[in-house]
């Protein structure tokens, strides 16, 4: 049972890390154009907003799907 708990939390950690890889990939393409000596303020804000807005979009889509389903039934 302890092992089960441990494996489950490792599983969650893995999914978290996978999401971070996916978001970095996506937001890198959206926010980083040229390679400079440091990520500048604008790029940093863009990266943070990119993650936040992507998650907002997810929530918005799921919410809207649920409403559609409620209206149908």
């Amino acid at each position: 049972k302890e092992l089960g708990k441990f494996l489950e939390s490792e599983n969650a950690r893995m999914r978290l890390q996978q999401s971070i890889h996916t978001f970095t990939d996506l937001c890198w393409d959206k926010c980083i154009n040229k390679i400079s000596n440091k990520i500048d303020r604008g790029e940093e804000t863009c990266l943070t907003n990119c993650v936040e807005r992507f998650l907002d979009t997810s929530l918005f889509i799921v919410k809207r799907l649920e409403e559609t389903r409620k209206n149908l039934s």
Binding site: L26, K30, C31, C46, N49, C50, E52, R53, F54, D56, T57, S58, F60, I61, V62, R64, L65
Partner: protein, 75 residues
């Protein structure tokens, strides 16, 4: 229960694709919040994507059926 998991996986995949396509189409410059114009765009884009999914389903299933009929004939 297997069928439920399948339906869930299918819905999840559809949501992921909508998210990916509509985020890239509607949120070109991610700002401090999801603007109402962006929400409208995502809502429309989502409806269009599901329409497209239905059209593609019909086309694919009818093709699969035609192919399996004509294979039956040629035997």
């Amino acid at each position: 229960q297997v069928r439920n998991e399948l339906a869930l996986a299918n819905a999840q995949e559809l949501i992921n694709k909508i998210n990916e396509k509509c985020f890239s189409k509607c949120i070109t410059k991610p700002g401090n919040k999801l603007e109402s114009s962006e929400q409208t765009c995502v809502a429309k884009c989502m409806d269009r994507y599901m329409e497209a999914w239905n059209i593609v389903s019909r086309a694919y299933i009818s093709r699969v059926q035609r192919e399996s009929n004509s294979q039956g004939e040629s035997l």
